[in-house]
């Protein structure tokens, strides 16, 4: 049942990343590796060392026994062996240093790479459009940024060097075998296709399983994230049991998939071992027959058999490493998926910077749909002169917030165009455009930083004085001063000792500090009491003088003095005018106002 949880397109907002949330389909293996390879630019030298050092290690591993043999021969023959012993010590010392260097370099190289991949992934995430985030779970993306990338580092830090060493050994032993006897070598190689088939079968299976494991892990992160952020609700509704049940579903699925993955990958080595033994017996018999016919000497057959053992072991291990690769690739694929998401459209060629936006805004036949076929705004046209204070009102879900989403280009219009100072929004540089707006959103997201830094988020580098001024204008100064740490008190993530209204005040201060030419307040004062709001209004009045401002509010007393009130209903402009005009019109607005003031 869990698989159908993919985001489909609900009426309202989009589900364009349905593919992204899709099932456990393994993707293009080679393409994934190639993509990762491209990211290694800049650490290729280090990677080379990671590959080369194990080769040196296998050389020293071979030299050791060689010298031991010489020493024993020397003792046997009664010759002096001091020099040889000294050589052996040097070899071991060299081996020590190589190993030390190998681990050191591998660690730094792999972690540097992981760091780069993380940074690039975050950079990619950061450039994704708002619509992307609407459809994914926070915990899942977090899992990609941590767990999945960690899996990639396993490839580099453990498997790659090992793989090199093994390939090196296999090549060496193969050479010796060929030199000893060509025909017997063929007999040894006869088992190789079996090994390949086996590996293919197992790996084909584990790859899908490991991928599913990562997906379930991501979903689990999502569920934990959701239930911790919503713990108040879980508790209020005594939903602990249900949350736990859902968790147990995921937990059980994770354990099941994990178990299957481990069991499947565990088949590889034992079966391989049996194949090796078969091959060994095959070669023994063949060798015996050949020796009996005098085709090879018995001595060659016996040493050949010993070498064949040295050959098959690393071949097995290579297969096993290939298995480990699968977890990594499963992680890598989930990382790459994000890179494949379509980022916010780049600025059009010739996009212009915004120069002192005066704030003339024109909506020209704007239609918009979050998901195809469900229009939210239908052919909306209106224009706003610089410095006007515009109120957007209308029933819930009428499309007020959508207007804001389009202005700030969180979304782009489906049809029509929006002009700022006569130029289509899409022809501006996005960064400049957004800098024109000081926005207070419905959902007041604050960061886990000090109050001062939260306000300063609106404009980097603002002085303390500017911060306090903004706070004063937003009516936040008094209560900030009253808290224990004042401006330096850190806002907790779910900060309980700050009320929703107080959070809104800080968000307003933040937007004021941005000093933008267009101010947007989307239900910015819904949790603020009316008296505080009136104080904010007074402050805003001086601040918004000369600035275009958009205000969405349900409390109509908030917007009564707007220059123009635009009433949106069912995606269209239903009424437009000043408070007095609309009251005189006696339409929907008048009705709404009367209802609210209790006079109906």
């Amino acid at each position: 049942m869990a698989d159908k949880k993919a985001v489909s397109g609900p009426p309202g907002r989009p589900g364009h990343n349905a593919v992204f949330m899709g099932g456990a389909k393994a993707r293009d293996f080679k393409g994934t590796l190639l993509r990762l390879w491209k990211m290694t630019k800049g650490s290729r030298k280090g990677l080379f060392a990671v590959l080369a050092l194990p080769c040196l290690m296998s050389v020293s591993a071979m030299l050791g026994p060689f010298f031991i043999g010489r020493i024993i021969n020397g003792i046997n023959g009664g010759n002096p062996v001091n020099m040889l012993i000294l050589a052996l010590i040097l070899i071991y010392a060299g081996d020590w240093l190589i190993r030390l260097a190998d681990i050191f370099i591998t660690a730094s190289v792999s972690q540097k790479l992981v760091f780069i991949i993380r940074k690039e992934l975050f950079a990619a995430v950061k450039n994704l459009p708002v619509s992307f985030f609407d459809g994914v779970s926070t915990g899942d993306i977090m899992s990609r940024l941590t767990n999945d990338i960690d899996n990639i580092s396993t490839i580099i830090s453990e498997s790659m060097g090992q793989l090199m060493m093994l390939v090196f050994t296999v090549a060496g032993v193969l050479g010796i075998m060929l030199w000893l006897d060509f025909r017997l070598t063929l007999a040894v190689l006869a088992a190789i296709p079996l090994v390949f088939i086996l590996t293919r079968v197992v790996v084909g299976r584990t790859r899908v399983l490991f991928r599913r494991q990562q997906i379930v892990l991501g979903r689990m992160g999502g569920h934990i994230e959701e239930s911790v952020s919503g713990l108040a609700l879980v508790k209020a509704f005594g939903m602990e049991k249900q949350a736990e049940e859902k968790f147990e579903d995921l937990n059980g699925e994770l354990a099941d998939v994990g178990t299957s993955a481990l069991i499947w990958s565990g088949y590889l080595m034992p079966v391989m071992n049996v194949i090796n033994n078969l091959s060994f017996i095959f070669v023994s018999v063949a060798g015996g027959v050949m020796a009996a016919k005098g085709m090879v000497s018995v001595g060659v057959v016996s040493s050949f058999l010993l070498y064949s053992r040295q050959f098959t072991r690393p071949v097995n291990e290579i297969a096993a490493i290939f298995n480990v690769f699968q977890t990594a690739v499963a992680g890598a694929e989930r990382v790459i998926e994000i890179f494949d998401e379509v980022p916010e459209p780049p600025d059009r060629p010739g996009a212009v910077p915004v120069k002192n936006a005066s704030g003339n805004i024109v909506f020209d036949g704007v239609s918009f749909e979050y998901s195809p076929g469900v229009p939210v705004l239908k052919n909306v046209s209106f224009s706003v002169k610089a410095g006007e204070k515009i109120a957007l009102v209308g029933p819930t879900g009428a499309g007020k917030t959508t207007v804001i989403n389009l202005l700030t280009r969180f979304y782009d219009v489906t049809e029509g165009r929006i002009l700022l100072d006569g130029i289509d929004l899409r022809d501006y540089r996005l960064k400049d455009l957004r800098a024109c707006f000081g926005v207070v959103l419905q959902d007041t997201a604050l960061f886990n930083m000090s109050v001062a830094d939260n306000i300063r988020y609106g404009r980097e580098g603002a002085s303390d004085k500017e911060v306090t001024d903004a706070a004063k204008a937003a009516g936040a100064h008094d209560f900030i001063e009253r808290t224990d740490g004042g401006y330096y008190s850190v806002i907790g993530a779910e900060g309980s000792d700050m009320s929703q209204g107080e959070r809104q005040l800080i968000a307003i201060a933040r937007a004021l500090l941005a000093g933008a030419s267009i101010l947007i307040l989307d239900e910015a004062t819904s949790s603020v009491d009316t008296r505080t709001e009136m104080r904010i209004q007074t402050a805003l009045k001086s601040l918004t003088r000369g600035r275009t401002s958009f205000i969405i509010a349900h409390r109509l007393s908030t917007i009564r003095d707007a220059d123009r009130i635009i009433l949106i209903n069912d995606g269209r402009i239903a009424e437009e005018g000043t408070h007095e005009e609309l009251m005189a019109l006696g339409g929907t607005y008048a009705l709404m106002y009367k209802t609210q003031s209790g006079s109906l």
Partner: protein, 573 residues
């Protein structure tokens, strides 16, 4: 470590069977080289084809047995480690759910996620890994030592010194890496927190153009994580090769001693060098496992932190808990402070709400309205005074009963991913579609839900992002209604509704939950005007209470609020 051991103990049958098959597997493994040698010595060298086939047959049988054992062992080991992992995740998650708000305020979400997933995985890996080589390495090591003792007793002191040195090195490795792994996990927490914060505030980041800032924050967390990983691995880099080197040097010592004693000892010398190589191999495995173990132990410590975290609230058991006489709510001289804060959020608040009454609460931002109602379902405990429901102090109530009795619609309408129906069923899982619809229409949500293509089966995105603020609020109200609570608390939960919608919703809610005591917090005076009693909050104190008419007469603050919203509008009616 105690946690890990107790976990293993819980699955001792599986664990020991895995160990049993591992032992059988190890024996088969160890037999193989001997058999191979015999094929060469007895068969090939003598040209005896029959012997080749016979010994080959035995070898194959041993290999097959070994393979079967290995498959079974792997099966058991995988099941055990996954079961243990699953159990631990359940424990951690269950514990998190049992936390009171005070606990949660202290712990970061990112850290909780790391602990429930990554930390458990570390332990799981260790347990799984240990079942693979726990037996093999010591068997080989002990076997080699025994052989040295019996065959070349003269070399015992050398071996003893080597083993002692290696033990010291391995111990040193563990001691040094343990705290580093702890730091590593902590940095992982931070990375999780930073990314979570960004993900939940995307719009704010984008609109203020602070992507670079967030990127720098993330890069610093990712950088710290990378550094701490490197620092942990460097410890292993320091000790691992050193252990190798020590054993290698001992081979040199043996050779040197052999050279001194002359030709006679060559056979024994070769044998003991062989054994030394085996010791080296098994020590390598042991130190690798122990390294994984220090990471697992560090993770176990972090999980223990969660499991040991004392819930800051003790609930009466179902048997000793007292019931509620009726749906009345009484505050007796209640004062309240958050955690260690010095500031009182509520000071000396007393009031009585009779069953079935509607109570309005109004007051300025930060005046303590939400703090006040948070005490009713016992999200927090009053610092002083008493909160009584139906005559019972909430501290003596059973949690489940209390939370069923009281239903709250919080200020922030939080919805969960899943369908609309799933979300509403949170209120009452056994509700039929008809009941759901009834509650939804009372909350004014049925109309818009029905207009969706998939109706109640519409899948909501993360946190219900695909709904407007007002739609979320109405669903949130419907969810609370579905519980048919005796006490219903609406915490400014209609703030995103337009006035006429709100009016309908309020009417619907009152009709739906007839007989229930209802608390309505609002900024809009029109929303509370019709209440039986209105509490006016100011700076954490109850400044006045009464009906609208009484307050208009007696309370200046209330009148001011009224005037600011309605009274002086002149053209309001």
């Amino acid at each position: 470590m105690k946690l890990i051991l107790s976990m293993i103990k819980g699955h001792i049958v599986l664990f020991s069977s895995a160990i049993f098959f591992l032992t059988a597997e190890a024996v088969c493994d160890l037999l193989q080289p001997a058999l191979m040698a015999r094929i060469v010595d007895d068969g090939i060298k003598n040209g005896d084809q029959a012997a080749v086939l016979r010994i080959g047959g035995i070898m194959l049988a041993v290999a097959l047995t070994g393979a079967v054992c290995a498959v079974i062992r792997n099966n058991l080991a995988s099941r055990t480690s996954q079961k243990i992992g699953r159990r631990m995740r359940s424990m951690v998650y269950g514990k998190i759910l049992s936390f009171s708000f005070e606990n949660i305020d202290r712990l970061h979400t990112g850290s909780l996620i790391t602990r429930a997933t990554n930390d458990v995985t570390q332990i799981q890996n260790f347990i799984n890994g240990s079942m693979r080589i726990l037996i093999k390495a010591p068997i080989i090591c002990v076997g080699a030592i025994v052989l040295i003792i019996t065959q070349t007793p003269a070399e015992l002191p050398v071996v003893g010194v080597i083993l002692l040195l290696c033990s010291v090195l391995i111990a040193g490795n563990m001691i040094m890496s343990y705290p580093r792994f702890g730091r590593l996990q902590k940095n992982l927490d931070r990375l999780n927190d930073v990314s979570r914060e960004f993900l939940t505030s995307v719009k704010v980041v984008k609109v203020f153009g602070r992507e670079k800032f967030e990127e720098a924050k993330f890069a610093s967390a990712a950088g710290d994580l990378a550094d701490s990983v490197v620092s942990a691995i460097k410890v292993a880099a320091l000790f691992g090769p050193l252990i190798n080197f020590t054993v290698n040097i001992s081979v040199v010592v043996l050779l040197w001693l052999g050279a001194a004693s002359g030709v006679s000892g060559v056979g024994g010398l070769m044998a003991s060098i062989n054994y030394m190589t085996q010791i080296l191999f098994s020590l390598g495995m042991i130190s690798a496992v122990l390294n994984i173990m220090s990471r697992a132990v560090a993770s176990a410590g972090r999980i223990n932190d969660i499991l040991d975290e004392k819930p800051s609230m003790i609930w009466a058991g179902p048997s000793e808990a007292r019931g509620f006489k009726d749906a009345s709510v009484e505050f007796k001289n209640v004062s309240f402070r958050y955690g260690s804060s010095e500031k009182y959020a509520l000071k000396n608040v007393s009031f009585y709400a009779a069953p079935g009454e509607t109570i309005g609460i109004i007051g300025s931002t930060g005046s303590g309205k939400t703090s006040l109602i948070n005490l009713i379902p016992r999200f927090y405990d009053a610092s002083e005074g008493q909160v009584l429901i139906g005559g019972t102090d909430v501290r003596y109530a059973d949690m489940e009963r209390l939370r069923r009795f009281v239903s709250i619609v919080p200020q922030k309408a939080t919805l969960f991913s899943g369908t609309i129906k799933d979300n509403l069923l949170w209120g009452n899982r056994s509700a039929s579609l008809e009941e759901i619809k009834k509650a939804a229409s009372a909350a004014g949500a049925d109309a818009f839900v029905s207009s969706f293509k998939d109706g109640y089966d519409t899948v909501l995105g993360r946190g219900g992002v695909n709904l407007s603020g007002g739609q979320k609020q109405r669903l949130s109200i419907a969810r609370a209604l579905l519980r048919k609570p005796d006490i219903l608390i609406l915490d400014d939960s209609a703030s995103a509704l337009d006035a006429s919608t709100e009016r309908e919703v309020t009417k619907g809610v009152k009709k739906y939950s007839e007989g229930a005591t209802i608390f309505i917090i609002s900024q809009k005076i029109a929303s509370v005007m019709g209440a039986d009693k209105i509490l006016v909050m100011d700076g954490g104190r109850l400044s006045a209470s009464g009906t609208h008419e009484e307050l208009m007469k007696e309370c200046r603050l209330y009148r001011e609020i009224y005037d600011s919203q309605i009274g002086d509008s002149g053209n309001g009616g």
